[in-house]
Amino acid sequence: MSSTFIIRFQKLSTVGLYTGRVMLVLAGIMVVPLITSLLFGELPIVLDFLVGISITSIVGFSLLLICGRGSRDISWTQSMIVVSLSWLLAMILSAIPYYLSGYWRSYLDAMFDVMSGFTTTGLVLGQDLDHMPYGINMWRHLLTWIGGQGIIVLALSFFTKGSPGAFKLYVGEGKDERLQPNVINTTRAIWYVSVVYLFVGTFILWITGIFVGLPVIKALFHGLWIFMAAWSTGGFAPQSQNVIYYHSRVYEIITMIFFIIGSFNFNLHWAVWTGNRKEIYRNLETVTFSITATVLSTIAIWELSKLNVYPDAISLLSRGYYSILSAHTTTGFMTIYARQFVLDWGPLALMAITVAMLFGGSASSTAGGFKAVRVGVAFKTVIYEIKRLLAPERAVIVEKIHMGRDIVLEDRYVRIALTIIFLYTISWFILTFITNACGYDLPSSMFESASAIGNVGLSCGVTNPDMPSILKVAYILGMWIGRLEFMAVFVFIGEFIRTLRR
C-alpha cells in the first residue's frame, strides 16, 4: 500500500516539478507589462501586476519545493498532463492582473480572455478596450504572442538545460517538427524566427501608423501589438474597432501579409531561411492553403457580388477577401463589424468562411483548425483511392506528399490526419449544439463555435460579457482542446478520472 503511494507521489512530483518551472517562467513574463505600466505611470496597474507576479511565483516555488525530488525523466503520459495542467494553471494565474484592473466583469471573463490569448483565438470579453491602460494591452498581446509559439516552447527554450523529457513536452503542446536535431535548439530556432519578424513587422507597422496619423509613441505600441496579434494569428487589437480603427488599406495589407506568414509551419520558415527557398511553393501545406483559400474566397466573393454587399472590387478585397484569409489563417482580424457576417453575408459566403475557420493554417505554426497538412493528406487520399480504382488490379500505386522532402503517403499518416479532423468536427458539433441550446440561431452558433474550436477569434456577436456562463466555460474548453489538439487533454482527463476511481 505504502509503496503504491510512494510511486504515485513520485509520478505526481515529476508533473509538479515541470509545472512549477512553467509557472516561474510565466511570473517572469509578467515583468514586461509591469515595466510598461511603470513607463506610462499607470500605478494601479503596476500594483495589479505585482500581485499577479507574487501569487504566480509563490505557486511556482511551492510546486518546486514540494515536488523538488521528482524525476527529471518524464513519461509521455506525464508530459501530456504537464502541458494540459500548465495551460489551465497559466490561465487562472494570468487572469489576476486582468481581474484586478477592473476591465473584466468577472474572474470567469478574465480567464476567458486569457485562454483566448494563449490559444491565439482572439475572442474578447474585456470592456472599454479603447481606454485600456498600456500595461494591460501589453499583457493581452504578449499572452497571444507567447501562446502562438507555446508556453512550453518558451520554457524549454530558455529555462531548461536539455531535460531528458523535453521532446515529449514539446510534442504535448501540439508541435512535432524538429527544425534542429536537438529539441532545445528547435525551440530556440522557433523563437529566433519569431523575434526577427517581430522587429521587422513592428518597424513596418510603426512607420505606417505614423503615416496613418497616429502619434509616434502610440504608433509604435500599436505596431508592436498588432504585429504580435498578426504573427500569432491571434486577432487581438488595442481598439474595439479592431483593424477598422486605422482606416488604412495599406495597414490592412501589411497585417494580411504578416498573418499569412504567421500561419506557416515553423519547419517551412526554417527550410526557407536556411537556403531551401523552393520549399515555399512545393510544400504540401502552402499548396493546400493556396488552393483552399482561393476556392473558398471565390465562393464567398461570388455570393457577396451576387448580393451586392460590397459595391466595388476594392471593398470586396478589403472586406470579403480579408475576412476569408483572416478566418483561414485563424487570425480573426476584422475589417467589418461582427453582426455583418450574419446580417449581410449570404448563406454561401457564411458557409465558406466557417469552412475556412475549420480548415485553419499550418501544423506546427501559431494557427489553429484542422491544419493544412491534414486537409492535404485527406485530399491526397481521395486522389490515391481514385487512382487505385482506375489502375489494373495488380498495379502498385504510390502517392507522395512533400513536407521538406518527399514522403510516401502511408496508412498511418492518413489515420492520424482523419482522426484529428474527426475529433475537431465532433467538437464543433457539440459546441454548436451548446451555443444553439443557449438560445442563439443556428448560423451564428455554427460560426462562433468554429471560431472558438479553430482558435480563430472572428465573432458574429455571440461572444460578449452577457453571454451565459455555461457558454463561456464551453468556449474556454473548446479553445483549450482545439489548441492542444485533443491528445494532451484526453490523457489529462483520463488520468484524472483514473485517479478519482482509485
Partner: protein, 44 residues
C-alpha cells in the same frame, strides 16, 4: 562580417534576410492571384 554572426544556430543575417524576402514575395503573389480573381468576379 555579417555571415559570422550565428546565434548558436546554423543561420546568418544574410540567409535570414533572403528567407524573409522570399516568404513576403510568396505571400504577395498569393494575395495578388486572389485579388485578380476577385476583380474578375466583380466584373461579371
Amino acid at each position: 562580417m555579417l555571415k559570422k554572426i550565428q546565434f548558436n544556430l546554423p543561420v546568418n543575417f544574410l540567409d535570414t534576410f533572403k528567407g524573409m524576402i522570399t516568404e513576403i514575395i510568396g505571400v504577395i503573389i498569393l494575395i495578388l492571384i486572389g485579388s485578380i480573381i476577385i476583380f474578375l468576379i466583380s466584373k461579371i
